[in-house]
């Protein structure tokens, strides 16, 4: 007994407004902070490309299997997101350390020459994100108080 009924006047007006709004829908990025580098941009890729997220791709295990350069890419280009957070965790598991004073990642390259409560001086590798590669830093002092 509850078949279709003609829309009342105010419902018709609502319907017209909804129809109009249907042609400029909100997109997901309207609800996300502006990304300095990689703004979300839906681009139709060939259907044989993976169209959905890889399973568990939002877990630390997944990020740990990524190459170091990939982790640095995620860290520097997706800042302020969960991806950056997971990349940072994965880098730490690969024994990189983020120095909050220099705001750079370092990895001990060989046993340091001097170690005490404040710092350890030795040879470190750091990631140079301008040249996008790892470089050695001789005689660098790693102050513990800045270690994150």
């Amino acid at each position: 007994p509850l078949g279709p009924t003609p829309l009342q006047k105010d419902h018709q007006v609502q319907f017209q407004m909804m129809e109009a709004a249907y042609y400029h829908l909100p997109s997901p990025s309207d609800s996300e902070r502006l990304r300095p580098y990689l703004q979300r941009q839906a681009i139709a890729t060939p259907p044989h490309f993976p169209q959905t997220q890889l399973p568990h791709s939002d877990t630390i295990d997944f990020f740990q299997r990524l190459a170091t350069e990939t982790l640095f890419f995620v860290f520097y280009y997706m800042e302020g997101t969960k991806a950056q957070y997971l990349a940072a965790k994965a880098l730490k598991k690969q024994s990189w350390r983020f120095h909050t004073k220099y705001m750079m990642w370092f990895q001990r390259h060989e046993e340091p020459k001097i170690i005490n409560e404040e710092f350890e001086q030795g040879t470190y590798i750091y990631f140079d994100y301008e040249k996008w590669g790892q470089r050695k830093k001789e005689g660098f002092t790693f102050e513990y108080k800045y270690l994150e």
Binding site: T52, D58, T81
Partner: protein
């Protein structure tokens, strides 16, 4: 017959809560890690 609710892009068998990565009512898949704002330490905001 209604919709096939398993085909709306939500992993209904997930052991985790869905809302933390809910991509929104009009998106066919969950939000990706790079879409989700996260309270990272301010030093990470190197921009």
């Amino acid at each position: 017959m209604g919709q096939d609710l398993t085909a709306l892009g939500l992993n209904l068998n997930s052991m985790e809560n869905l809302y933390q990565s809910f991509g929104g009512p009009f998106s066919d898949g969950p939000a990706r890690p790079q879409d989700i704002d996260y309270p990272v330490p301010s030093e990470y905001l190197i921009n």
